[in-house]
């Protein structure tokens, strides 16, 4: 920062002192908790859903009254409806959905509840009609899962992030990182899926995962984004990162 002349705050500090202070302040590393962003976003999505559902409520009482009054006017002006017909007309806006079932008795198609099983490769491929299958393999021709672009580079990245003090003391562990691998092969929206039990190791795993690059998942030959879990292992004598497509940790969303 360019030092500027000071006129307040006691004696005028030397530029070098100010630069040191500036540097010390800049070096304060304000890091978010790894999963804070994802948690907050989830909270925002819920709030937005709530706001939207508030905006699209069923017609309010004045709206129903308007329909009621309109029906009453028709009844009175026409004068040819029976009491029961008039009552029926007046009650029309208040009828339940059950009264609107077609005579054929065919039930209205139910909305998919989206409760798909959390299994490997329940792909973003077109879901077949009917109940969601218990497990769907990813078609080896039409879809592929992300793979590390460079395994050696990945090992180096993980090794470089291993906190030296922990490594020296022989402390290791495995951290499961949930990440969205973009169509460009970059991991985003990282969250800790399973902790090693050591915050320092968890943070190191997140930093490592951020630096990894992948060949993205493909669907029908087109690169697509997908969620994966990256188990990152810190072993005192070697480092390893497991992201093989056949890993049971890999998941692909059904809906995107």
């Amino acid at each position: 920062m360019t030092p500027l002349p000071g006129r307040q705050g006691g004696s005028r500090p030397e530029p070098a002192e100010m630069e040191a202070l500036d540097k010390a302040l800049r070096e304060i590393a304000i890091d978010e908790r790894c999963s804070f962003g994802a948690e907050l976003r989830s909270e925002l999505v819920k709030e937005y859903d709530r706001l939207r559902s508030g905006a699209s409520r069923p017609p309010s009482t004045p709206g129903l009254l308007q329909w009621g009054w309109a029906a009453a006017i028709v009844v009175v002006a026409g004068g040819f409806l029976s009491f029961s017909q008039a009552r029926s007309a007046l009650m029309w806006p208040f009828r339940t959905d059950a009264a609107e079932v077609p005579e054929s008795g065919e039930p209205a198609p139910s909305r998919r509840d989206g409760s798909h099983p959390e299994t490997i490769g329940t792909a973003g491929l077109a879901a077949p009609a009917g109940p969601a299958p218990e497990s769907v393999e990813v078609d080896s021709v039409s879809a592929s899962l992300p793979v590390l672009a460079d395994r050696d580079a990945a090992r180096r990245i993980v090794a470089n992030e291993y906190p030296p003090l922990l490594q020296e003391r022989g402390v290791g562990g495995t951290v499961g990182i949930l990440a969205w691998v973009t169509p460009a092969g970059a991991p985003e929206l990282l969250q800790i899926d399973s902790s090693s039990g050591l915050a320092e190791l968890d943070r190191a795993a997140v930093r490592a995962a951020q630096a990894l690059r992948f060949q993205p998942a493909t669907r029908l030959g087109v690169a697509v984004g997908t969620w994966v879990i990256l188990p990152i292992r810190f072993l005192p004598n070697a480092t390893e990162v497991l992201v093989e497509p056949e890993s049971e940790a890999l998941r692909i969303p059904l809906s995107n």
């Binding site: 705050g9 100010m18 907050l40 989830s42 077109a126 299958p133 984004g225 995107n256």
Partner: protein, 200 residues
């Protein structure tokens, strides 16, 4: 079982949350989502610079974005850039929080829990040293007047440049440069006073 599909691949925007992996998808307004991604960290860092703990910073940052989401319809891009708008909400939220603490006479000055601010330190020893330094700096900063804390938080917390700070504070870049310099001078004096107290 192999799946057969003839459907065209769809857009592959990242599902917003883990639940989305399993099915129903809900999302945020597009603009807001982009702002959230782009400005969450500066907002959090600004707030964290001003309050005593990470938990408080998370609560206040959450409030900032929830308020912004609720007020989205009233936002006018011509009046303020998104970051300026969000930081304005953050400034008000921090001010409200500190005011409430003052009312309860429990304004937290001592920052003893700052491990999250030194996570980049390469070794345990260096981390302890750096944590002491950060504690001294932030404890001293917390004794400065509101306007000084404000400008230092925008600079060193949110990481804004002079022009952006000027935009957020409704002043000129030159005025910001002068304010930062004066605030640093007062901070230096406060740090020294704190050191003398510890030695005495």
């Amino acid at each position: 079982m192999k799946t057969e599909t003839t459907s065209k691949p769809q857009a592959t925007e990242a599902p917003s949350r883990r639940e989305d992996v399993r099915g129903s998808r809900s999302d945020l307004p597009q603009d807001f989502d982009a702002w959230f991604r782009e400005h969450r960290e500066p907002v959090y860092r600004y707030v964290r610079f001003r309050v005593a703990t990470r938990e408080l910073a998370e609560d206040i940052t959450s409030d900032v974005f929830l308020k912004a989401l609720r007020a989205l319809d009233g936002y006018d891009r011509r009046r303020a850039a998104p970051r300026t708008w969000l930081l304005r909400i953050a400034r008000n939220a921090v001010t409200d929080h500190l005011r409430a603490l003052r009312r309860r006479r429990s304004l937290q000055v001592s920052l003893d829990r700052t491990p999250d601010l030194v996570s980049q330190a390469p070794s345990q020893e260096e981390r302890i040293l750096r944590q002491e330094q950060v504690n001294r700096l932030l404890n001293a900063a917390a004794t400065l007047r509101e306007a000084d804390q404000e400008v230092l938080s925008l600079r060193y917390g949110a990481g804004l440049g002079n022009a952006e700070i000027a935009d957020a504070m409704g002043t000129s870049s030159n005025a910001v440069a002068v304010r930062i310099h004066r605030a640093l001078a007062r901070l230096k004096a406060a740090v020294e006073a704190g050191n003398q107290r510890e030695e005495g």
